[in-house]
């Protein structure tokens, strides 16, 4: 593998990932997480359409923005406040296919909420993944609060707040950016702009082309990046992380991307967008693009690809079976943990 890349480089070719400081292993790891995220998601749709689970909310099409950014963090040290679509983020940071499936089937062993929340409501204090609820954009203030705590303790941990362009209309988004900008907090705002908030297109969500253009209004830089170019996202995030760790404050990264599926399994996207449009974006699939790149760079061969496919499939199959067999919570599991400490 390394030999191949060296050959390419010897021929004067560019190895983008190396230039970014990524080893081949790391570059392939990124690819594998993207593949895993996609595979888990596809399996969930199948199961849902079979009537075996009530709800799916997808990451398909946005793996580049999610995995590219998350891989720039130190897992378990830095923090993320993801939104419901960020399966790629949480898988990159240490959640497993089993975790995803347990949540999908709402089983007792689900680490995010023991089956209390819908899928897509990730959470793990151990992995520094902040629990998410359903109200949109509340997590941006939480992310600023996490960063505030890091600042008070003089730690250089960085927090990424993920959100869609729809969430940027909520007051909490403005309030979070405002506060983070005032105090130059170590928080990075990553907007996965997929052009739709369920059915509402960007043109009805804002008067401007780029969410990132608002950043200077809060006193920090905004960066627009091709969200389906995983290495571009990685680079932009890595730079933002450096800024943040150095105390230079927030960055707003707007990753332009696209949602391949409907908003969720309860949505019918044919009611508001054309199949042709989806097909065009499918050609810009971040996984396919990265795959092409990795092959050209010599890092991805047939056998490596096959091995990855086998691992991913095995994980998905194992996760599905494990989760489906896992026990449901019982009625007794309804009452505990309203408080950390009940008053007798």
């Amino acid at each position: 593998m390394a030999t191949k890349t060296a050959e390419v480089e010897a021929r004067g070719g560019q190895s983008r990932h190396r230039a970014l400081g990524l080893s081949d292993e790391r570059a392939l790891a990124i690819y594998e997480v993207m593949r895993l995220a996609r595979a888990v998601d596809e399996r969930m749709w199948l199961i849902n359409r079979q009537g075996r689970a009530p709800f799916v909310i997808s990451c398909q099409g946005q793996e580049g923005a999610q995995v590219g950014s998350a891989m720039a963090l130190k897992p378990g040290y830095d923090w993320v406040a993801p939104y419901y679509r960020d399966a790629g983020v949480v898988l990159a940071l240490g959640m497993t296919a089993r975790d995803q499936m347990l949540s999908f089937f709402a089983k007792r062993e689900d680490p995010s909420s023991a089956g209390r929340q819908m899928p897509g409501h990730f959470g793990s204090q151990r992995l520094h993944i902040l629990t998410g609820g359903s109200p949109v954009a509340t997590q941006l203030l939480h992310a600023a609060g996490i960063a505030l705590a890091s600042r008070i303790r003089k730690e250089d941990a960085v927090t990424i707040a993920y959100f869609g362009e729809g969430a940027s209309s909520e007051g909490d988004c403005h309030e979070a950016m405002n506060f983070a900008g005032i105090h130059k907090l170590g928080v990075i705002f990553v907007c996965e702009n997929n052009g739709y908030a369920i059915s509402v297109p960007q043109s009805k969500q804002m008067a401007i082309q780029n969410v990132a253009d608002r950043a200077p209004g809060y006193g920090f830089p905004g960066v627009v990046v091709d969200g389906n170019d995983v290495l571009a996202v990685y680079q932009a995030t890595r730079d933002a992380v450096s800024r943040a760790r150095a105390g230079e404050g927030p960055t707003l990264i707007e990753a332009k991307t696209y949602r391949f599926t409907a908003h969720s399994s309860d949505d019918d996207d044919r009611r508001y967008r054309q199949a042709e449009e989806v097909a065009v974006w499918r050609q810009k699939d971040p996984i396919l693009r990265y795959q092409r790149y990795l092959r050209e760079a010599g890092a991805l061969t047939d056998s490596v690809e096959a091995a990855i496919t086998e691992r991913v499939t095995a994980q998905v199959d194992d996760a599905t079976e494990y989760a489906e067999q896992a026990p449901d919570p019982s009625a007794d599991d309804l009452l505990p943990h309203v408080f950390a400490r009940e008053v007798d």
């Binding site: 204090q125 203030l141 996490i146 505030l148 408080f339």
Partner: protein, 327 residues
């Protein structure tokens, strides 16, 4: 022991907790440089610095949202909302996020946050500086709500609130800030959340109240005593979780109960107290349980005649208590 006002006791409580625990910090509008619009945080900015006493923008959702994030990352924030009347923009963060996070993570994440807010009327505050909000929040599982009425309770409950691992809404009656002075024990004394206190023993009827109304009830009780009626006064101190045992005990003792609060009547705290009494002490009742509350209008108006018409007073409490005693 020393005599202190309610506001002094609260300030002292915060000071002592901040000195004791590095993770405790304060944020809110005007809390830093100015020391708070009521001077609740006077002197703390100078003592602890801008990192631990933070002046926030004019944004209540920010104040609570930041507190949640900071608590998730190991801090113990004391978030001040300048007036209880302005807490509404933070509702989403309080009831959808703060109240539910321990439950929705199945105990993986708990939030040791305190949200302080001055409440209550009798200060010509009009519609937007006089409201009672305790019932709204007591209704939501996952929040603890306290409303001390005396300096000793204010300090002790603040300490308990800061050290509690769950979100606590700490309500300070603004009229009591400087009006009420009392003995505050020295040292690190905690008043437990969830425990009411009998402030005056009696056998003929029970007055149940909190905040400013506690003091009005005590005043009425003195007059009643001169008339041969011994009123017991139970200070709830904590709204949620309600000290049901104390409520039932006083009910069983006297058989006649009057619940008093400033808040509007519908689904107010009195309604819950009365329901609990009906459920658990019906056989001990010698009269219907009664309540005396503010009326069903959107907060008390500015004009003093209208404000007085709204607020319960010692005289109104006395009249109602006499009716109860005679029943």
């Amino acid at each position: 022991m020393a005599q202190k006002t309610v506001i002094e006791a609260i300030r002292e409580g915060m000071d002592e907790e901040m000195a004791r625990d590095q993770s405790v910090f304060i944020m809110g509008e005007d809390v830093g440089q100015r020391g708070g619009v009521f001077l609740a945080t006077d002197g703390l900015f100078k003592k602890y610095g801008a990192d631990r006493v933070i002046d926030t923008p004019l944004a209540e959702s920010t104040i609570v949202g930041l507190a949640i994030g900071a608590a998730a990352n190991g801090m113990r924030p004391i978030a001040e909302i300048q007036f209880a009347d302005f807490i509404a923009p933070a509702m989403n963060q309080i009831i959808e996020e703060a109240a539910r996070i321990c439950y929705r993570t199945n105990g993986d994440l708990n939030l040791p946050i305190v949200i302080r807010a001055p409440w209550g009327g009798g200060v010509h505050g009009a519609l937007y500086h006089s409201q009672s909000i305790e019932a709204l929040f007591a209704h939501v599982p996952g929040l603890k709500v306290v409303a001390p009425g005396t300096p000793a309770d204010a300090k002790g409950l603040l300490k308990s609130a800061v050290r509690d691992p769950d979100p606590v809404l700490y309500l300070e009656h603004k009229r009591t800030y400087r009006l009420i002075k009392g003995e505050v024990p020295d040292g690190d004394r905690l008043v437990p959340i969830g425990k009411a206190e009998v402030k005056r023993q009696g056998k003929d009827l029970s007055l149940i109240a909190y905040g400013l109304m506690l003091h009005y009830c005590l005043e009425a009780a003195e007059t009643l005593a001169a008339e041969g009626v011994e009123a017991e006064v139970l200070d709830l101190r904590t709204i949620k979780p309600l000290d049901v045992a104390a409520v039932i005990a006083t009910t069983r003792k006297t058989g006649k109960v009057l619940v008093v609060h400033e808040d509007n009547p519908f689904a107010g705290v009195a309604a819950e107290v009365m329901a609990v009494i009906m459920e658990q002490a019906f056989d001990a009742l010698d009269a219907p349980v009664m309540r005396l509350t503010g009326p069903d209008v959107p907060a008390m108006p500015f004009n003093h005649v209208l404000e007085a018409a709204f607020m319960p007073s010692p005289e109104k409490i006395l009249a109602k208590a006499r009716e109860l005693a005679k029943y």
